[in-house]
Symmetry: C3
Subunit: 168 residues, 3 copies
């Protein structure tokens, strides 16, 4: 009976396995470093959520989907990379990749990267990192999905990229 099963899953795995992954990215200026971070999150579409930072696995069979509507203030397990700079004229970037396995019983691997570079370099780097992670595991790769953002700093800027896990 489904009611009972749900109860048991609450007991034995209270943190239910997320089954969706959404890649988002955004860059922004802010009046303070934390406000720049907050604004970058707003740009990325996850500014009114409570991100819980995770190291960095896509659960088996999770679906990669556009960011769903998540209630404000929700506790959202999220892998992310970000960089904040106050060096006027500096270009900063953040990127996220997800390596998806051929074998659907296996998990995916999320990698994050941030640096003083452009979007293209950040995205290539983070895709390479995900590829390496699969090679280290000896797993066959189906594909790599990625997102990146760059920003040229005016006063205080932040570049932010994330993979948010959620439930459908």
């Amino acid at each position: 009976m489904s009611t009972l099963n749900t109860d048991l899953s609450c007991i034995h795995a209270p943190f239910k396995l997320p089954n969706t992954v959404s890649l988002v990215a955004g860059s922004a200026e802010g009046k303070t470093p934390l406000n720049a971070f907050d604004n970058a999150l707003l740009k990325a579409g996850i500014g009114n959520l409570n991100l819980i930072r995770i190291s960095s696995i896509m659960p088996p069979k999770a679906e990669i989907i556009p960011l769903p509507k998540i209630p404000m203030g929700s506790l959202v397990p999220t892998a992310y990379g970000y960089i904040i700079s106050d060096v006027k004229g500096e270009t900063i970037a953040a990127a996220i990749s997800v390596a998806v396995p051929k074998d659907k019983e296996l998990c995916g691997l999320i990698m994050e990267y941030e640096g003083k570079c452009g979007k293209k370099e950040a995205e290539e780097t983070v895709r390479e990192m995900a590829k390496i992670g699969f090679e280290e595991r000896g797993w066959e790769l189906d594909r790599i999905v990625s997102i990146a953002t760059e920003h040229t700093v005016e006063k205080i800027g932040c570049a932010f990229a994330a993979a948010a896990l959620w439930y459908k």
Copy 2:
């Protein structure tokens, strides 16, 4: 039926939205940096809990209340700022603010700050940050609640301020 509803909330939002926020702060010395941090948490009243660091939203309609009695070892979603210093005579401070919206359907915004400064400066800074965050959102502010702590370092000191989310 309430049993069924609860089950469904476990399925679709396994991380139930916290509905209380408690501001705490504390400073302390310690024999090592991590022991100073541990002691500052004890001073703040949340030393025997497992803080899960979050980025930094008060769920809509959450109540700001004194820290409730939370069982030891509980996993407590918490926004916090802290600073550790081993420079004898240095004054360090940490502060937390919560911007509460007029529109009760919206979430609140938690900001944290830490620096080599006094309590007053830290608290003014963190309140300003929360105000800016609301301006960026174009939201009307009801009020800002805040807390701060300062410490003058003897050997190794830590100043810590937090907003702990919980449930009632």
Copy 3:
């Protein structure tokens, strides 16, 4: 009735208290800093999980056990220390300790340490830190359990030690 009780625990403490603690450690090289970290986690046996970093309490009556089989991608509350270095020939180490109380109503204290040192020094340091933490609380110590790992860097290396909380 147990179904009802479970429901209530979901409502009032959505983050169910973990009741097991498992100490793991591992070191590895990697082609990038984050790949070295990922490889160290794989060596430690927790590379395909989503670690949620916590500050650092063993819930009362939790059992210290070998790492159980945890489904890939699970959200695992974990205290950890790590160090990444790209200085060829440098020795790095990470260590974790758990101070277990005599009074079984009290919680245990987890401490983490990482540094440019050997395994023995890291482990002695982190055990001392746990002992100090109990002295600060005025609690009687039953015993301290610990684990450590060291690594001499070739190109990019990571040493990682963790206490993973879980459920049985």
